[in-house]
């Protein structure tokens, strides 16, 4: 064994010195197997680790519950505040948007009907409808309402995703 050790050691050093990478790789592996014992793992390592995992899992559950509680409470408070302070504005914006939509529809129908009556071509009827739609979209109240609705939808999706995530972690 000891002669082997000397031989392996010399083989490794020789291979290293003469840049024979593959040989050096193999010889060093052999050498290490002989001289370097693996560290001994404490007998209770698994038990300690599993206890730490149980503690961590319990912490995760608590954290998830806390997050859910904060989100639900915060969401409810935010919604109530938004309704209280922004209710009037929202109603006026939504009604303006509804009015604009109705106007656009009426404009489109009237445009189509008058176009049919006067024997206008397909493209001029389509132009009339387009004008009615662009008048609707370019109304500032409508634009603000659309942006606000998108913001609310994004916030709702984000909250839902956080809630579902928190729920998953607590299970």
């Amino acid at each position: 064994m000891t002669e082997d050790l000397t031989r392996i050691y010399r083989r490794w050093r020789a291979a290293e010195a003469s840049e024979r990478d593959e040989d050096a790789d193999g010889a060093y592996r052999e050498l290490l197997a002989v001289v370097a014992p693996e560290p001994r793992v404490a007998a209770d390592f698994t038990v300690r680790t599993m206890k730490a995992i149980t503690v961590a899992a319990a912490q995760d559950v608590r954290r998830a519950r806390r997050t859910r509680r904060v989100l639900v409470t915060g969401g409810a408070l935010g919604l109530a505040t938004a309704v209280y302070f922004g209710g009037g504005v929202a109603v006026s914006l939504l009604s303006a948007a509804l009015l604009g939509l109705l106007n656009a529809l009426i404009g489109a129908v009237v445009g189509m009907a008058s176009g049919a009556q006067t024997g206008a071509g397909f493209w001029s009827v389509l132009g009339g409808v387009g004008r009615a739609i662009s008048a609707f979209v370019s109304n500032p109240a409508v634009t603000v309402a659309m942006v606000a609705l998108q913001g609310i939808a994004i916030a709702a999706l984000f909250a839902l995703q956080r809630l579902l995530g928190a729920n998953e972690r607590s299970e």
Binding site: L5, W12, V41, I53
Partner: protein, 186 residues
């Protein structure tokens, strides 16, 4: 039981399945970390941290890949974080002389005859290993103690296979040079 099945059971809430994973990989994980940080009791703590992180992020594990690679990666990163936190790095490999310079200054006989010499060479190797950079210690452990391929090492460390090969080559050359400086003649 297969790795994928163990992971699936652990994800389903079976702690006994994760316990099997811990039992299966604790030795290689502790070995890797111990070689990197040079302190066995710290290595056990960091290995525990590694398994806790793995448990928390098990849902993110891609079951088409090897569990061992994923665990080694977490262990490597955990050890690197610990080394960064504890500057200057802890470098006192188990059973090795406290000051690696001592090894370099004391002339030692070439490896020879008896178990004492074998142990001496083992200690010298450990001491010289401790003088390598943590990344080099990591690649050396993965390559020679865990017998991983360069491709696998690259995957674990997030580097190309050729880079992993080059890291191992350089680390081994450096080790050889340090041993020579310590008086371990070829």
């Amino acid at each position: 039981m297969s790795e994928a099945r163990l992971v699936a059971q652990a994800l389903g809430g079976a702690q006994s399945a994760f316990e099997q994973i811990v039992r299966r990989y604790q030795r290689p994980i502790i070995t890797l970390i111990a070689r990197m940080v040079g302190d066995f009791s710290l290595a056990e703590d960091l290995a525990q941290e590694t398994f806790v992180k793995a448990f928390r992020n098990l849902a993110a594990f891609d079951t088409t890949r090897r569990l061992s690679s994923w665990l080694f990666r977490i262990a490597h990163n955990t050890a690197m974080d610990a080394l960064r936190r504890s500057r200057p790095p802890v470098i006192s490999i188990e059973r090795a002389p406290a000051d690696p310079e001592t090894v370099a200054s004391e002339p030692a006989a070439p490896p020879a005859a008896d178990p004492v010499e074998r142990q001496a060479l083992g200690e010298a190797l450990h001491a010289c290993m401790a003088r390598l950079r943590p990344e080099q210690r990591s690649v050396m452990t993965l390559r020679y103690e865990e017998s991983l391929s360069f491709e696998e090492i690259g995957r674990i460390l997030g580097i190309p296979e050729a880079t992993a090969r080059s890291h191992v080559h350089r680390a081994r050359k450096e080790l050889s040079r340090l041993l020579a400086a310590a008086g371990w003649a070829p």
